[in-house]
Amino acid sequence: MSAAVVDFDVHLSNFEGPLDLLLHLIRKNEMDVYDIPMAEITRQYLLILDAMQDLNLDVAGEFLLMAATLLHIKSRLLLPVSDPDEIETEDEDPRAELVRRLLEYQKYKEAAATMDGFPLLGREVFGRDFPAPELTEGGEAELEAVGLFELVEAFRALLREAPEPYVHEVEAERLSVSDRINAILTLLLGRDSLAFMELFNGRPDRPEVVVTFLAMLELVKLQTVRLLQNARFGTIWIYPAVEAEPAPAVDEGSLGYL
């Protein structure tokens, strides 16, 4: 293998594709992209592919296809031009399409790099992607049925807040799901709704949050309670499923897709 190839960190995975690899070779060899020396670039390209195969790395079909394209262009350049008029008409430079593709690819590659430099939401900048409590406490907003997603989100938020468990302080009895179910049902007795947060006293620890989550899922499955929310990420309300008066108007009567 030539030194030109060895000194370069041969990893096709460093390249997004054959066009990326070719651009790299052109830049590294300071070649003129409008007058690519096909023999040389094909030689280097194939050496890299060989090296890949020697390393038992899977060479993606796209890289092999480009090898074929390079060889094809090279062979066409070697053909003697019999009729000079031919060049003027149909047969442009056999390299032309490749050059256009390389330049076009480079354009989007640079655009991608520029875009990556923007301050991204969730990376450099953060917003409030949740409705403010003011929006959800009005009580006038239409209630939407709560799905599993909202439920899990609410618990995730709680878990983030909840401190790490103090392992030895946890008593097994305190963590029984059936006890928790009974506790929720007791809380609901004689009330027509219960805010989800009321299930927790002060700052719950993780096991408590998890057990409460399981108890809620169980109750929903048994169709003993229904969960409603006035807006995404608003307060989740627990209603007894059997009730004297109908629940407020909602999109759907029950927990749709649980």
Binding site: A68, K107, A111, L120, G127, P131
Partner: protein, 198 residues
């Protein structure tokens, strides 16, 4: 209502909105003309910029939204224990192609990148950065893709027109790309036969 009374009201409305708020919606809610609302928003924007605050008022996705200053990103990430959003190079390339060329097809993206983009396209759809616009009226009726409002929000762009202009090395017209896609077996490569051809 004069602008000094209007400003805190507009401020509170932008503040409670979970997504960038369009001036039109504020105008509608307050029954005040859009121009005055826009003026209030621009004054607020300047106030926040000046005051060295933890967040600023940004014009994004055809609306206005409060966002934290980029220099506080590390602290926010530490508080939320969230991993920052990351994009692979492949996803960014595909996204750039879709953003600049929309409406565009999967075949066009594959051709321009020189590699299969099915996987990244799926990721972009899942992240709601890209959406299916419909079908192209050509044989095979391929799906056509474009960027979403979420894309603008993520990249902090006011609208599609505020994408930076591409450096014009060359310009392949959509027709040229179509022709090339039709003539090059690049879309579904069969390496063996291709090599034999050469």
């Amino acid at each position: 209502m004069d602008i000094s009374e209007l400003k805190p009201i507009v401020e509170s409305l932008v503040f409670v909105s979970p997504a960038p708020l369009r001036p039109e919606r504020i105008a509608e809610a307050l029954e005040i003309d859009r121009g005055t609302i826009l003026e209030a928003l621009q004054e607020l924007q300047a106030d926040y910029q000046r005051a060295g605050r933890g967040f600023v008022l940004q014009q994004v996705a055809e609306g206005f939204q409060f966002r934290t200053r980029p220099e506080y990103a590390d602290w926010v990430l530490r508080l939320n224990r969230n991993r920052p959003v990351r994009f692979s190079r492949a996803a960014l390339e595909a996204l750039a192609i879709i953003a600049y060329r929309q409406p565009t097809t999967r075949a066009e993206i594959d051709y321009l990148r020189g590699v299969d983009s099915g996987g990244v396209l799926k990721t972009l759809l899942e992240r709601h950065l890209v959406r299916i616009l419909g079908k192209k009226d050509v044989p095979g009726k391929p799906l056509i893709y474009g960027t979403t409002r979420t894309f603008l929000e993520f990249f902090g762009l006011r609208d599609l027109a505020s994408l930076p202009t591409l450096k014009e090395f060359s310009d392949l017209s959509p027709a040229e790309v179509d022709a090339a896609i039709a003539s090059v077996p690049g879309v579904a490569p069969h390496p063996q036969t291709a090599l034999d051809d050469a």
